[in-house]
């Protein structure tokens, strides 16, 4: 019985992802990003079919088997864009360090002012870290990987949707700075948006996404308990 449920869950998940890739290509929009779109689709199929979270657990473990190697693979694009980092070391590092600190601190402080519960505060603090790393960082901070993943994806959508407009309004025109800000705050989805703006923006965003994840992983275990 349970193996049927697991098999069904796996098929639904893969099919939804495959479909979401096609939809994303045909109708590009923040609401058709594959992760957002396929998650919505899967929940809409599984809930009426009577599959509960506990039933999905085994499917989740099987499908997540390659998450680790996929995260390790991020070293490849990072290595390829090393030249951009080496020629812009100071502005790049300063921007991503200050930006990561600013977004982490404001997220925790606002969440606290609005009275959000502990588990949400811990999970929301690292919403700018790229999802595969944030998911692993969440338990270290006593947050929930699932909540963190949702916040990370929402942040990716928010930054990709409004980031370029906001930067134009406040006078950020330098291509390196624009890419860097998008990658630091909105990780993968921000990087995808930066690539649309240009090659330098895309490379800067990719570097910022990787380096900001490293930086936040190192400082969050110390900063989050102090702030929140």
């Amino acid at each position: 019985m349970s193996s049927w449920v697991t098999g069904f869950s796996i098929v639904v998940t893969i099919a939804a992802y495959a479909l979401s890739r096609v939809v994303a290509r045909r109708y590009p929009s923040p609401f058709t990003t594959p992760v957002f779109f396929s998650t919505t689709l899967i929940i809409l199929v599984l809930v009426p079919a009577g599959v509960r979270v506990a039933d999905y657990e085994l499917a989740k473990q099987i499908l997540g088997f390659l998450l680790g190697p996929a995260t390790v693979s991020l070293a490849v694009p990072l290595y390829k864009s090393r030249r951009t980092l080496l020629t812009n070391t100071l502005p790049a590092l300063a921007g991503l360090v200050v930006g990561s600190l600013a977004t982490l601190a404001t997220a925790v402080v606002i969440a606290r002012l609005l009275g959000l519960p502990d588990v949400i505060r811990a999970s929301i603090s690292i919403k700018s870290v790229t999802a595969p790393i944030a998911i692993e960082l969440a338990p270290i901070l006593h947050g929930s990987p699932t909540l963190t993943a949702a916040f990370v994806i929402a942040t990716g959508m928010i930054g990709a949707m409004f980031g370029p407009w906001l930067m134009t309004v406040i006078g950020i025109h330098d291509p390196l700075a624009r890419g860097l800000a998008l990658g630091t705050i909105s990780h993968g989805q921000g990087t995808a948006q930066a690539v649309v703006e240009g090659e330098l923006q895309g490379a800067a965003a990719g570097i910022a996404m990787g380096c900001a994840a490293v930086f936040t992983s190192v400082v969050a275990p110390f900063l989050v308990p102090i702030l929140g």
Partner: protein, 123 residues
């Protein structure tokens, strides 16, 4: 067939590097995700040319392109957290939007300021 074997070998190597990352984090009591250490390990192997890019490139590119797929199963867990979201929806949205806007502004302005002083010195 040849391609399949190459992909299998490359993915096994990436799995091993990932495993080493987790072992390292546990052994050194580092409060860091093991997969992050694995990524840094591969980056240093590439930078020191111990591992040539072409040894891992093809599989790594495919995995990175479909990185999103691997965390879909985790976000599906949201189906049991709907209530927590509905109860705190507005507060969560405000937190996310404001912190993202401040982060983008601060990151962009500080790096633009430094980039422009550098450009002036260069010219």
């Amino acid at each position: 067939m040849r391609t399949l074997i190459i992909i299998a070998v490359q993915i096994t190597a990436l799995l091993v590097i990932n495993r080493v990352g987790y072992t390292l984090a546990a052994a050194l009591h580092l409060p860091l995700p093991g997969n992050l250490l694995g990524m840094l390990l591969l980056l240093s192997l590439l930078a020191t040319r111990v591992v040539p890019l072409r040894w891992v490139e093809s599989s790594a590119s495919v995995l990175v392109r479909h990185l999103g797929f691997f965390f879909v199963p985790i976000t599906v867990g949201l189906m049991s957290l709907g209530e927590l979201f509905l109860d705190n929806g507005i507060a969560i949205l405000i937190t996310l939007v404001v912190s993202a806007a401040i982060g983008i502004g601060v990151a962009g302005l500080s790096s633009q300021r430094l980039a422009s002083t550098r450009d002036r010195r260069a010219s």
